[in-house]
Symmetry: C2
Subunit: 204 residues, 2 copies
Amino acid sequence: MDNSQNAEERIFEAAMDVFCDHGYDGTKMQMIADKAEISKASLHYYFRSKDKLFEKVVQKLFSTLLTAVTGSLKPEDDIETLIRQLISKHIDMFNQYKRETSFIFSEMMKHEDLIEKVLSGVHNIKDIQMIAERLQIERDAGRIIDISPQNLIINMISMSFYPIIAEPLVKRIFAYSDTEYSELLEQRKQIVADFVLAAIKRRD
Amino acid sequence: MDNSQNAEERIFEAAMDVFCDHGYDGTKMQMIADKAEISKASLHYYFRSKDKLFEKVVQKLFSTLLTAVTGSLKPEDDIETLIRQLISKHIDMFNQYKRETSFIFSEMMKHEDLIEKVLSGVHNIKDIQMIAERLQIERDAGRIIDISPQNLIINMISMSFYPIIAEPLVKRIFAYSDTEYSELLEQRKQIVADFVLAAIKRRD
DNA sequence: TTATGGTTTGACCAAGTAGTCAAACTTATT
DNA sequence: AATAAGTTTGACTACTTGGTCAAACCATAA
């Protein structure tokens, strides 16, 4: 671990790393201390307890993931571009932060109360609502089929999420190599977007 | 816990329950013993170690989930019925076994080696391959658009999987109540199937 | 230099933790 | 009833764990 950073940063980064790999219960304070190259007592000096450190890590990671997607969406784009962007950014984000994603969703299911704590400390959820509104406008105008924005958004995120969370399983079942699977994920940016656009296109 | 069953069954069921709720690291042998109403020493009498018990639990659960889906698919059905069935059964299965699903996928990401052990003890993976072959036939015949069976299957399972694994998050973001969310999942059986069928329909 | 205030740690503790084992208990067989 | 074989457990061990604390360390300002 980079000793040039100050202790608090070093600890926090080590904590993010270890928590992601081992989850809350699998993480021992000593592991974080070792990775940060600092004593276990110092961990408790900077962050009072394992719980407190954990909560801050979850908050930070969740915010990082959310920003990675919403930060790059331009509301002024046309709906096709918006959909292609949304899918592409989600696949990139889930892929880049696959350990973090798996960790967040896994812990979220175990401690549902985490959601409230995490979402209250995050302000760019409205970006999702912005997308929903745009889709609703297209729907009202009859430019896409009659599907609720919620269902449409869930569908798009689903198809970006699953192949990464279930990577080891899918890879094994369809006998993909590592490189083939990377290619698949890259191709899916277009495949999924085409799929969605075909599905919502009106037939006259 | 039902004392009429024999000890081994009681322990195993208790273990499935506790492991699902707390994961491997969060589960303590004493918790399982308490739930099975038996001494901790008896746990080790029937299942030598925590690891051995865990592996058997994972194996059993994975097989249960897989069978819940593949057991009800009839290859002789037409492709639309097959697709509707596949989606409906997956949503039902993920919904009925949401704790188990979350547990399996979560542990699978942490210990990728589990997959080999689990898949080797399971023989109905070919049912998935059967579906893939059917989709390939439709594709070759030009009755659906040009999309690989793998991508199509991934899409269908994705849209059934995510809303359940991310339930607390989605529920909170779109402000669904418990009953509203149940209704959503029920409706999605048709919505997702329609979505997929619309997406793969050829346009001439 | 020295006093001050933040930083770091080795040693420690109380509460768990998986796993063991000899002894007690139960059931079926003769 | 007596023997044997399988079952159950309390008590135990060796080890781990989150957290504490007094003492040492280090920078800086007076």
